[in-house]
Symmetry: C2
Subunit: 457 residues, 2 copies
């Protein structure tokens, strides 16, 4: 009964069911995603996707490409195209959000689909405005769907190679869009089925443009599922739990019933965290340590150019996911623990600038990358790291990170989250518009018409 | 090296590599698919898909919805929408084609994507016509890709619940479209990767509209993959064989290298068969037997209304796939061996007409369906069946089918294939246009511009 349980919970959810903590997490998740979608639009991947689809495959322009800095007319496409491009842009920097128990980045798929549909469907003149409260309610429904599903098949589903952000993301997007469209429970079940049969994303594509495509495509797939179901398209009422349905086909184990019983009482969205660095989350403790060592090196009157050896002690999963020793592109460097250590030590920063093609090929970076040695130890948690650097005079410095910045035990402060937003948005669309975008997205819960949010910045 | 092997073979394939037998199979596969796509368009599923997408999500109209009987202008949509609608229409009747070793219906995904792109891209005025020979070469490349992949993961991939027609279909469509676009080997590898990470289709959705959606969506997914790769989108050069790539993520076993070595020497397309009945292929021997028993009943001066009991002896897989005892819709009846026996005995026919909602609810059909008993036996092959009917006077008739009509050992004749085409196409667009469509698609290999094929009928 998993499909019915999820559909029934989502269709019955109201804004008044959301606690203040849930609303706060939802607003921050949308805000952080919007910053990433605007900032990430400067990358090649969303542009190739846009160039491939806008002229040939977009219908009437109703929905915005968030990071577009051109004319208003060139910034709008149909909702399917917007979901694809914003979905890619929001994930391409690996800078978005993380539900640490599943390593799912939950906001991107749901928000990309939902905002595009809200812009398309909201029509206050016709008496159907989509308010900020409606938007956040649908967003929470979609995110909870993703994360409960992710937990239900963790870790078997992930360990075999699926990218669970997008494999659960198409279903989350369908639930969110279905909620916004007001589907009844039966049509919501059909929407979940159509979404579930589109399984997007494998880990082999990490470090390439296709990783971010996963998010954009899952957003499109979930949106299409909800729209088809709204129009009477049939799938199955047991698309998740049936023998040949999603849970059993994509995983050797599942316990969805137990997790779905917690819907509305344990809110996964409150476990969402926001990345301080634009790269694989398991590299974050190392970057945190290396940035602190950079500062202490300078404070101690030494130069980072005199570092002769870098020794990392990290969780074994770090090498599984981010073991690229010799990255060739910015995207590949987001999965190189060697690059992460080098840029933290050299620049004392871990922003999108340190993960560009240029920096990856910079000879000073390459030289320091080659001095990094990695040891793994099961007793080191994924948000921990121990870094030792040795200088050419034989002296050493060591830094132990107990909980990396951005982790649940050491989350970004509101100020740090704003700095992250403003940095990347300013780089993309300038400081004036960045301030307005900051105001628009922090205030999204109070908007009477989310469909006009792009006009606010 | 599976991805490189496939990409390299496909990019180097030329029309002169195709044997006469391969060309004959390719033309028949496209012809049979076109008949199904035109005939199947009368169903609800493709119309809901069209209504959901055409106005809101279609770009400039370049590609035809094959079964459309309206004005030329309303019959054209963008290539992505055409691929979706034709893909659904061509599969919704479960009347298409079957590669028996994998139960893959190979033509639909590849042809739906390829024809839409050919219509969009062919421009003889600009010196880039897509000829019938180019079209067939790309079609064969895509079909071989699907079928070799299907064999590589058979039966583990199918047994866990995947719908291998569409899970391999997105990759086949990408190879075919990539071939038509002239991608180099590296870009073809990237296209294969983007397609491979979109895994569409689970068996839970058999008997609903979503089964046919699998084919349309896989066609779209493969097309998009090829177009993105053409524009420089990156995925992986080892998207199939990598530890976290397609072969290992979707199957517990694979032997792609062995099958890909046979590319160009053993042609799977020559094993393609064409369905005589619009339903799950494992029901075909039973329908074959029941139609013969219907005729022999009448020839013997008896009435089918005097049948009191129907006993089937079939392969066990028949009940796994088609065990619905009480179907409620035409689509569900395509997966009911009970319905199959009843309509064969009552009407002596197994055409789309006998699998409609009306016939499914007909009381005479329901009554006979309830008299059908099914026994299974491992020693009965999937293309065999034994049917015994008992009349109210206690007399019996028995029919054993050694190889069902439409199977490799008992294929449809050219006349039977034409009758199938003409019956369904005439019902959809009338006899005059049906004759022209028959001429166009039987002659497709000789066309100088496949992009104008819709103008021929």
């Amino acid at each position: 009964m998993a499909t019915l349980a999820l559909a029934s919970w989502a269709t019955n959810l109201t804004y008044t069911n959301l606690t203040p903590g849930v609303i706060d997490s939802a607003v921050k998740s949308v805000y952080n995603w919007a910053g990433c979608a605007i900032g990430g639009y400067t990358q090649d991947a969303p542009h190739i996707a846009q160039n491939t689809t806008q002229l040939s495959f977009s219908g009437p322009p109703t929905s915005s490409i968030l990071g577009s800095n051109g004319s208003i007319s060139s910034s709008f496409v149909d909702a399917q195209t917007a979901a694809l491009v914003n979905g890619i842009a929001g994930h391409v920097d690996d800078y978005d959000d993380t539900h640490l128990a599943t390593i799912i980045h939950p906001a991107g798929t749901v928000a990309s689909a939902l905002l595009a549909v809200a812009e398309w469907k909201s029509d206050p003149d016709a008496g159907v405005p989509i308010t900020g409260q409606d938007f956040l309610t649908a967003f929470v429904a979609g995110v909870e769907a993703e994360l409960k599903l992710g937990l239900s098949v963790w870790p078997e589903h992930y360990d075999v190679g699926w990218h669970d952000t997008s494999t659960t993301g198409s279903i989350g997007a369908a639930v969110a869009v279905g909620k916004l469209l007001g589907l009844d429970t039966t049509r919501m079940q059909h929407a979940i089925g159509v979404a579930a049969t589109q399984v997007i994303g494998m880990q082999e594509f990490f470090g390439s443009m296709t990783k971010s495509f996963h998010v954009g495509r899952a957003a499109q797939s979930g949106m299409l599922a909800a729209l088809l179901a709204e129009n009477g398209f049939t799938s199955s009422l047991q698309g998740l739990e049936a023998q040949f349905g999603w849970l059993h086909v994509v995983s050797t184990r599942e316990n969805a019933s137990a997790y779905f019983e917690q819907l509305g009482s344990i809110w996964e969205i409150q476990q969402n965290t926001f990345k301080p660095f634009p790269c694989g989350i398991v590299m974050h403790p190392t970057i945190d340590a290396c940035i602190q060592l950079h500062n202490e090196t300078l404070d101690g009157g030494k130069s980072v150019s005199s570092i002769q050896a870098v020794n990392l002690l990290v969780n074994p999963e770090v090498l599984v996911l981010t073991g690229k020793t010799d990255p060739q592109t910015g995207l590949e460097s987001k999965f190189s623990i060697y690059h992460a250590a080098a840029i933290g030590l050299l620049f004392g920063e871990g922003t999108p600038t340190e993960f560009t093609d240029d920096v990856v090929k910079n000879q000073t970076v390459v030289d320091l990358r080659n001095k990094v040695k990695v040891m793994t130890d099961d007793s080191i948690a994924e948000d921990q790291a121990n870094v030792t650097i040795t200088f050419d005079d034989g002296s050493t410095m060591e830094k132990h990170i107990e909980h990396a910045i951005g982790s649940l035990d050491n989350p970004l402060t509101d100020d740090e989250l704003k700095k992250k937003f403003m940095d990347q948005v300013t780089r993309a669309i300038g400081g004036q518009r960045a301030e307005k975008a900051n105001d628009a997205f922090t205030n999204i819960g109070n908007l009477s018409d989310v469909g006009k949010i792009r006009m606010l910045f």
